[in-house]
């Protein structure tokens, strides 16, 4: 009896999570896959006809938006790492007693709705807004110069909105660096730069890894920023999927696009993990 219970315990422990995954992940994913191979319309219904052409049709029409989403996601992630690393480093090593206050400040914008935060950028970047109006009156930029509805605006918006997703894992990784290791490094005559490149940075790599994933995946599939800050040539794949699913109600196309996006991102993450030399992707992400 005792042994049986011990044997069953792990299953009971995983039961709530397992059920959650089954209901809210496996079933929707299977439904999505099956929808992507259906033909039909709202009035007559949809039938599973194994219509693989949905994929080729969707991709041949919307490949530029796919590519663009990956580019924007990558740009926002690189910019995000460049901005976050100093922030996380400073909080972890120089934050002192106020570390949690600083982290709270990083998270503070999250208390404002995502869409509102993005709309305030729209105000800020507008042609005659806070940023451009003075520059124009000083003659530093030409009168018809604009940032809204350009790639720059969208990438800035993405970087801003997802910044805390990089700062936090970076902070956790840097915070864990044992000060004695740093000390040892300088005892062994490493300069500040060598200490950073040879000791601190390699130790923070799991944080960089997690930050990149947590930033790149949502940024590449985001549509709010492109919708609010972008123009006709900045549409990202998220907008297309939303339009196809909710406006046109062409479920097969919408689900085919979603499947490609999900598959593409998954493959990308595993390749990235390989390249980074992380022995186990899931383990690194769990850190």
């Amino acid at each position: 009896m005792q042994r049986l219970r011990a044997k069953l315990a792990p299953y009971f422990l995983i039961l709530p999570g397992g059920l959650w995954l089954a209901i809210f992940f496996i079933i929707p994913t299977v439904t999505m896959l099956s929808f992507s191979l259906m033909t039909g319309n709202e009035a007559d219904g949809y039938q599973l006809t194994w219509h693989f052409q949905n994929y080729t049709d969707a991709l041949s029409t919307y490949w530029p938006q796919f590519l663009r989403s990956l580019e924007y996601g990558a740009a926002a992630t690189i910019l995000g790492i460049a901005l976050s690393y100093p922030i996380a480093y400073w909080i972890a090593f120089k934050g002192g007693k106020r570390k949690s206050t600083y982290l709270f400040l990083v998270l503070l914008p999250f208390f404002v709705s995502f869409v509102l935060r993005t709309i305030s950028w729209q105000f800020f970047l507008s042609d005659n807004g806070l940023l451009l109006s003075p520059l124009k009156s000083m003659g530093l930029v030409s009168q018809d110069f604009h940032i809204l509805q350009t790639t720059v605006a969208v990438v800035l918006g993405l970087t801003y909105n997802y910044l805390p997703f990089i700062v936090l894992p970076l902070y956790v990784a840097l915070e864990r660096v044992d000060p004695r290791v740093v000390e040892a490094s300088s005892d062994l005559y490493a300069g500040r730069i060598a200490t950073f490149t040879k000791v601190i940075f390699p130790l923070s790599l799991p944080g960089v890894f997690a930050g990149v994933i947590m930033n790149f995946v949502p940024a590449a599939s985001d549509y709010v920023n492109a919708e609010i800050l972008g123009g006709p040539n900045n549409t990202m794949i998220g907008s297309i999927i939303q339009d196809q699913a909710l406006h046109v109600r062409d479920y097969p196309t919408a689900t085919a696009l979603s499947t490609v996006l999900m598959g593409g991102l998954l493959v990308g993450i595993f390749l990235y993990a390989r390249a980074l030399g992380t022995e186990d992707v899931l383990e690194a992400a769990a850190r």
Binding site: P10, I27, E42, D44, G45, N128, G231, V248
Partner: protein, 406 residues
Amino acid sequence: MNEFDPAFLRGITQDRRSFLRAAGLVGAGAALAACGVKGAKVSPAKADDVAKFWAGKKQNGHVDFANWASYMDANHSPLKKFTSETGITVNYKEVITDDPTWYGKIQPQLAAGQPIGYDLMVVTDGIELNKLVQFGYLAPLDHKMLTNFEANAGAAFKNESFDKGNVFSVPYATGYTGIGYNPKYVKEPITSIKQLFDPKYKGKIGMMKDTQELGNFGMLLNGVNPETSTEADWKKAAATLQAQKPIVRQYVDQNYTKSLSNGDLWITMAWSGDIFQENLSNGSNLQFVVPSEGGTIWTDNMMIPKTAPNPVDALKLIDFFYRIDIAAMLTEEINYVPSVPAVKAQLLKDAQTASKSDAATFTTMASSPLVFPTDAELANLRHYVNLPNPGAEKIYQDLFLPISSG
């Protein structure tokens, strides 16, 4: 996080039985999805539908009303008056931003036969209204209870092509799609759709994101009446609009008036009442014209979802909007075309008792072609493109959606 005994994880994931169980689950999901999804089409309305629907329905003293943004004054005065006269309370929410999104939100509940949380809603004529009718999602209106509508509605609003005989809907307000521009930046008179294609305004041009609106303007420029257009016309219009794309700043939805007054946009497709409202509320001097090639006319319609818990109260509110004084009250605020012609006389009458500035506004409104179009102006307005079946709709959307969301 990873302080688990690795053997623990292995025990769970590498157990053959649980693998089989997971596989079974995936299979069940597949079976579930493989059945396909049933179509929503229903048989056409029958003569006794009205009596059948309204039999046994009683007034409950409350109505939930879903409408578009800024489609009533901030105090909701017509609704306050309704409550004080009938005792029926109104929960008014401006939750509709565009027809496709709204339809997407309510469709699952309607298909499942559940209430959507609103007894009364306002939907524009077009693809979504057709679907609501076609799929049997709307309550047939009992015209015996619509006495004000029968007495006061203008002939043109009583028998519109999209809902002949007002079986399911009556108009809330009507407006046009034309061109709005800011004369602070645009220094020439605007008369033609061609000017939306002028490279001079590169990077300052707005076109509408809505595929029906967008396609209509492409066709009008090509000299085609959207209402009677064919697939060949759509293809030509799509090519015309695709060529314009490099000079378009943005494909706009609801917020274009703000962009127009702050100079992000100089010239854009626009709805008549929006421009009037923006000028009234912000003191801007934006202009609206119906282009010489023609503009489009659309009607926003009040309707009751079949699953509404308070249909009698909703119907009473619908009819209330057709009382001449209430129709005038609404027009004074939203500046769209009223469905009650007597509003014009009422506006002039209200002007005599109103404050000085209001009086001037009302008099301007009574003579404004945007609110009371002349017959000549009406003749230059076209109805929306007609998409009779899902096949045509798919072709149409695949042509225009890649333009507005490229």
